[in-house]
Assembly symmetry: C2
């Protein structure tokens, strides 16, 4: 079974990662992190979010961050947008992509976004239309595609159904998100296969959390079904709001190490990425969670 020759990584550290860190990070440090990521070869990243600072104070500097980035024409800058108001705030900052989000779990949708899955799709339909009219690509994050902290296991049929609805409102890309990190390789493949019924191969990505250490195995299993786009977070930034003290997004370095070993191109320089991880970990005053960053930094010290 041939694996893809090339993988595109979207570093979500500046948004999904930092959002789950308690310590508020200065806009200048976020911008510096983004610069380091793009210097290391990251060509797609989630820069910030336009959720109300009432809910997510860490992202209250969204416009400042977007204005501070020295943009590269070959990098796609994505921002998270919760609703029409968020899009309105985001548009003047000229994102290349917006990320909208819903869930494959009804209970999670209710608790996390205060509406049913169907209502969330309905609410996003005009947002998607407006973004696309402005020439902005729309990605959807499908949370709890494998398991839910309230409902437990999520059947792949649920992924199928919501993916169909997202495709129907014109979303370009779907991120199959294992929000609580309970996925294992075959379950991940099943969820991806359902998403692939509604989106082309290059418009389906995997977004895996390493809460239970499964993320890299899940990336490998995803490659086996042809998926070649993944979210990851530099330094393994972020945590899990459903298990304090647990690990967050899979670390970008760990993914790159595996892909290098598999002979799969990413365009990302591992040493530069470890530098970026060391930088943001220094800002947060703790070592990176990433196994690769820890090992590489330990070797550099020796």
């Amino acid at each position: 079974m041939a694996l893809p020759n090339r993988v595109t990584l979207c570093d979500v550290g500046p948004r999904d990662g930092l959002q789950n860190e308690k310590q508020v990070v200065a806009a200048a440090d976020k911008v510096e992190l983004i610069h380091r990521l793009q210097a290391a070869g990251i060509r797609r990243l989630e820069a910030t979010s336009f959720v109300s600072p009432k809910w997510v104070p860490q992202m209250g500097d969204n416009a400042e961050v977007m204005a501070g980035i020295q943009r590269r024409s070959d990098v796609a800058y994505a921002v998270l947008v919760p609703n029409a108001k968020g899009l309105e705030a985001a548009l003047p900052t000229r994102p290349d992509e917006i990320v909208v989000f819903t869930a494959a779990s009804e209970a999670f949708a209710q608790k996390n976004i205060n509406c049913s899955i169907a209502e969330s799709i309905e609410r996003f339909a005009p947002v998607v239309a407006q973004a696309k009219a402005a020439g902005i690509k729309v990605r959807a994050a499908l949370s709890c595609a494998i398991g839910c902290p309230y409902e437990g296991d999520i059947h792949p049929d649920k992924v199928d159904a919501v993916a169909a609805q997202l495709a129907a409102i014109g979303v370009d890309h779907i991120g199959v998100s294992d929000t609580i990190g309970v996925g294992t390789p075959r379950r991940i493949q099943q969820a991806l296969e359902r998403a692939l019924k509604h989106f082309p191969l290059h418009e389906v990505s995997g977004h895996y959390h390493d809460t239970y250490g499964q993320a890299l195995a899940n990336v490998y299993a995803s490659l086996e079904v042809g998926v070649s786009t993944f979210d990851a977070s530099v330094g393994g930034l972020g945590g899990c709001p459903y298990a304090k003290g647990a690990t967050g997004n899979v670390a970008t370095e760990d993914v790159v190490f595996m892909l290098n070993g598999l002979g799969i191109e990413t365009g990302v320089d591992l040493d530069g990425l470890v530098d970026a991880a060391a930088f943001i970990s220094g800002v947060l005053g703790r070592p990176p969670v990433s196994r690769v960053a820890r090992a590489v930094l330990a070797k550099r010290q020796a």
Copy 2:
């Protein structure tokens, strides 16, 4: 591609794990750890080593540990044996299995066991014969089967050659060891396939270190070539002598979590395993390295 229905896990925490922990652990705590592991369903474990206490002070209590275990007839107790003298010391403690070791890297053999690979095999031949005459199963650990801290990449042909020599002296089982954790899925599969030329499927095991976070992906890749026996270390005990601060053996809990998700039987109770990890981490005064143990313990606290 069907994966195996059942996997046998050998918990190497009491030996390979603790050996790489600086803090000397009391024999009573080691025995308690072994009791907890077998209570959790572990049926094969590396209990201690009969290397000279001059080299490995942590294992100086080997006979005391072996005498202290309340043995179960359905558990195989293995001990590491470096030479004839080690076997002599081990025999009265009635191990079910001995583990001998060599490397797929000449440089590593020279630095680690002070002889060439060929000399190590020659030296082990009478040890193997004597153990087998005493009705003891002999496993060989093949260190640096993927990469070496001194030589870098190790070609699979090297695994092929050394596996052939180990089979020739009557070794029953080979553990393909990624000592420094640099393996990635396809490289692991290649190394296993070479070992499988000389040993039957159920007598080839994977021994992976999580230094670069690759271990679980490597276990999954191993299942794909039919391998169904793995070493793992409760709590992710142990470190990497070649990168201080880096991670050691793959955590048994993380492996069990993945196998549970894949519907593969292990006979191991995850909660009991997490209890054992919490116990030994308490003794060591630090949280477990295992992602699963951390997440489960965090959830229990919530």
